[in-house]
């Protein structure tokens, strides 16, 4: 192992590195202060967070209550009404999301510049269309925006928070109920004095169904802008089963099973039972955790969807612009980037990793050519300016580095938990569901229910572990066979070209997960995060069924050195 080499860090490791730098700086500052026998000069940033922690209870309560939508809706003939309020200023009650320019005028009359956009259902303003800012309210607290939803419209108090404070006081003293309190106070209090001349409020909202009325409720988003506010350009809200601003519509199942709908449930169960039989009869490749001086060797092929920017703009440092990008950039061309990954894991969770870059395959031939004509720039993970990359004997990008598994020194302790799991199918399922010890028998929940979906996923994860006994694997497959409504597709190829049965789900986001197993060997061949649904396909321009990231399990075993395979 060579610690000098740069590992390809994941988010957690990158964050750790940055945080450690902060701590080191503080440590040095404290030492210097000690040496000078004087209190450490407190940089301004240091004062902020603790106050958030300590003062939050009070200051946040004020903002929280200000953002609860009150249910007042007594005058439906007008879109909104302006009423004087106690202590000065006005209250604007918005009953219906209409007459946006009238509301802008009313806000202007009250001293607040604004942009109000009422949106048709399913649309949102394209972001960003203004520079966000924060205003500090004279009564304490700050406001930079928020989203409100509920029945009816919204109420905005302007100029004075006296009425609201009185109500809040009464509520705290228990003199009025929560409902009375909510109904008597605005959702939002704005003070013109808090706004600089170039600051304004940006409001957008759309009706939502409530209590059987298709437009009985509303969801409203508010922000504070500094400088020019561009007109709201309507774009479709994410068609993800979520409302326009991210609140869940129906609270439906987390997963929808996905598979060959023509395949009868009995055939699916038969495939799973066959896999169980094969698993029972198979020899385990790996029987136990590596002992001292040994390593668990695992070879996988990881195929990741990555985006490439033909013009290389925008991302990365000036000296090293990043041509491959986080994959939802609208101008990116998408490619599947395969990496052969070999990991030797020591008993303490320390790893030696060897990664070899495979052939980058763009989703279209034209994009492939564009990339090759640009000199085939490597993906970020194999960019020589970012990482220590060498070449293997056939000229492919190669990285070798020391790292640590995510479980760290606990890497193999979970094994004891796995080995304690029952090897009788129903008992295993109940253990996975954490429902052991019940008095009545519990039938399996269907795969499309949240519990059923979670059970299927957990069982498949157990099957994907490199060290599991044949009996446990058989039990897991048999338990899966009992769960109704599993989505299964036959003859599906994994990233390494092997074929098997695929069990998959689609999530509300259009992304999904898929495990491919071979019924003839009882092994999980690959698991993948998939792009299945319309949202995901629209976002990445990749056809449904493209893996976002797939791991194909190629080989595993116990070896005595990091040169052995």
């Amino acid at each position: 192992m060579s610690p000098e080499q740069k590992p390809k860090p994941d988010f957690e490791q990158r964050l750790l590195a940055r945080l450690k730098a902060v701590v080191a700086e503080r440590g040095a500052a404290a030492e210097a202060a000690e040496a000078a026998k004087a209190p450490a000069a407190t940089p301004s940033w240091r004062r902020r967070a603790p106050r958030v922690v300590l003062g939050a209870g009070v200051a946040l309560a004020a903002i929280a209550v200000a953002l609860i939508v009150s249910a007042g809706g007594d005058n439906p003939s007008k879109a909104f009404a302006v009423e004087p309020q106690k202590g000065g200023g006005v209250t604007i009650k918005v009953y219906r999301l209409e007459d946006a320019s009238g509301l802008e005028q009313a806000l202007r009359d009250a001293g607040i510049q604004s942009q109000v956009t009422w949106l048709p259902a399913g649309k949102v303003c394209r972001e960003p269309h203004y520079k966000p800012a924060v205003v500090h309210l004279p009564g304490g607290g700050s406001f930079g925006g928020g989203t409100m939803s509920g029945p009816g419209g919204i109420t905005i108090g302007i100029g004075s928070t006296k009425a609201w404070r009185e109500s809040f006081g009464k509520y705290r003293r228990g003199e009025i109920s929560a409902e009375e309190y909510r109904n008597s106070t605005p959702n939002l209090n704005l003070d013109p004095k808090a706004f600089h001349p170039d600051q304004s409020v940006v409001i957008s909202g759309t009706p939502t169904p409530y209590d059987g009325d298709p437009e009985g409720g509303s969801i409203t988003k508010m922000g504070v802008a500094e400088g020019t506010v561009e007109p709201c350009k309507l774009v479709p809200a994410l068609p993800s089963g979520f409302g326009a601003f991210g609140s869940s519509e129906a609270g439906g199942p987390a997963y929808v099973p996905r598979g060959d709908e023509a395949l009868p449930q009995a055939a699916i169960a038969a495939d799973l039972r066959q896999a169980a039989e094969s698993a029972e009869a198979s020899d385990t490749q790996v029987e136990a955790a590596p002992g001292p001086g040994q390593f668990l060797y695992a070879k996988t092929k990881v195929v990741q969807l990555e985006g490439w920017l033909p013009k290389g703009h925008g991302k990365g440092s000036k000296t090293h612009p990043r041509y491959f990008v986080p994959i939802n950039d609208p101008s990116a061309r998408y490619a599947l980037v395969p990496v052969l990954k070999e990991v030797w894991t020591a008993p303490d969770g320390k790893t030696h990793v060897r990664e070899t870059l495979g052939q980058v395959n763009f989703l279209s031939d034209a994009d492939q050519k564009l990339w090759e004509d640009a000199g085939s720039p490597p993906p970020w993970a194999f960019d020589p300016s970012e990482h220590d990359v060498s070449r293997d004997s056939s000229g492919r990008g190669l990285k070798e580095f020391a790292a640590k598994t995510f479980r760290g020194r606990h890497e193999f302790t979970y094994l004891s938990r796995l080995s304690q799991l029952p090897t009788e199918p129903e008992a295993l399922r109940l253990a996975v569901e954490n429902r052991r010890g019940g008095s009545s028998p519990l039938d399996p929940s269907p795969a499309k229910s949240p519990r059923g979906g979670a059970t299927v996923e957990r069982l498949l994860e157990i099957l994907s572990e490199p060290i599991t006994s044949p009996a446990l694997r058989a039990a897991a497959f048999n338990a899966l066979a009992e769960i109704p409504g599993i989505g299964l597709e036959r003859n599906v190829a994994d990233g390494a070209g092997r074929r098997g049965d695929a069990i998959g789900w689609v999530r509300e986001s259009g992304f999904g997960r898929r495990f491919i197993f071979d019924p003839r060997t009882g092994k999980v061949l690959a698991e993948a995060e998939m792009i299945f649904g319309p949202k995901a396909t629209a976002e990445y321009g990749a056809p449904a069924g493209t893996p976002y990231r797939e791991t194909a399990y190629l080989q595993s075993g116990i070896v005595d050195s990091t040169h052995e395979r």
Partner: protein, 218 residues
């Protein structure tokens, strides 16, 4: 108002090494916790121990990958900043961290996502990579149900909500939740009872609504 105090002195080299060893072997206990603000090695042990649970904690409340990353960074920064005020008798390290996290997430919920851009020392989302996305999204998706519950709690007063959140969403015991929020167990129990009753009423009043924040106006 919080008076400024000097930071604790980093431990001497020997006691520091012992602390680091102890932290690595047995986790960062109450005795070591106050050093996480000034000792990078002890902080690392604390971070490794907590990061996974904390990310789940955030995912139970925040459905957006980038915001979740920003918050994770913010929470650790806040922990670093306030570690010297940690008192070992009051809450276990994880409970203490959850207390900080809860406030910051609630705070964040009341602000627009981009409003934070200018004032941050460390922007967690800038550290995200395409390779992290699927893993993080999976965690976020797995917590969808908890998030719905979290949103439904908008009808509750902050003090009651705090306790119910930690008990119902994060599965803390009442005593732990009380320690995280900084109240006595008895107080927490009363709040929990009230919060449950209100939330039940709220949910029954608006069974089919996405965010039942308030009573039906009829």
């Amino acid at each position: 108002m919080e008076t400024e105090r000097t930071l604790p002195r980093p431990p001497s080299e020997l006691s520091r090494r012992l602390s680091v060893v102890a932290a690595r072997e047995r986790g960062v206990g109450p005795e070591q916790l106050r050093w996480i603000g000034t000792d990078a090695d002890i902080f690392e042990a604390f971070y490794r121990e907590q990061v996974e649970d904390l990310q789940r904690f955030v995912a139970r409340r925040v459905g957006d990958r980038e915001r979740a990353a920003d918050l994770t960074a913010e929470i650790f920064l806040a922990a670093i900043d306030s570690a010297h005020r940690y008192r070992p008798g009051r809450a276990a390290p994880k409970t203490w961290l959850y207390g900080i996290a809860r406030v910051l997430v609630a705070n964040d919920r009341r602000r627009s996502g981009r409003e934070r851009a200018g004032e941050e020392r460390l922007r967690g989302s800038a550290l995200l990579d395409p390779e992290d996305a699927a893993r993080i999204d999976a965690r976020i998706d797995a917590a969808a149900q908890s998030r719905r519950l979290y949103e439904a709690m908008d009808c509750l007063p902050d003090a009651e909500r705090a306790v119910l959140e930690l008990v119902a969403i994060d599965e803390l015991t009442v005593a732990e939740a009380a320690a995280a929020v900084g109240v006595r167990s008895g107080t927490a129990r009363v709040r929990l009872h009230r919060a449950r009753r209100k939330l039940r009423a709220e949910l029954e009043a608006a069974t089919h609504q996405p965010t039942p924040r308030k009573e039906d106006r009829s």
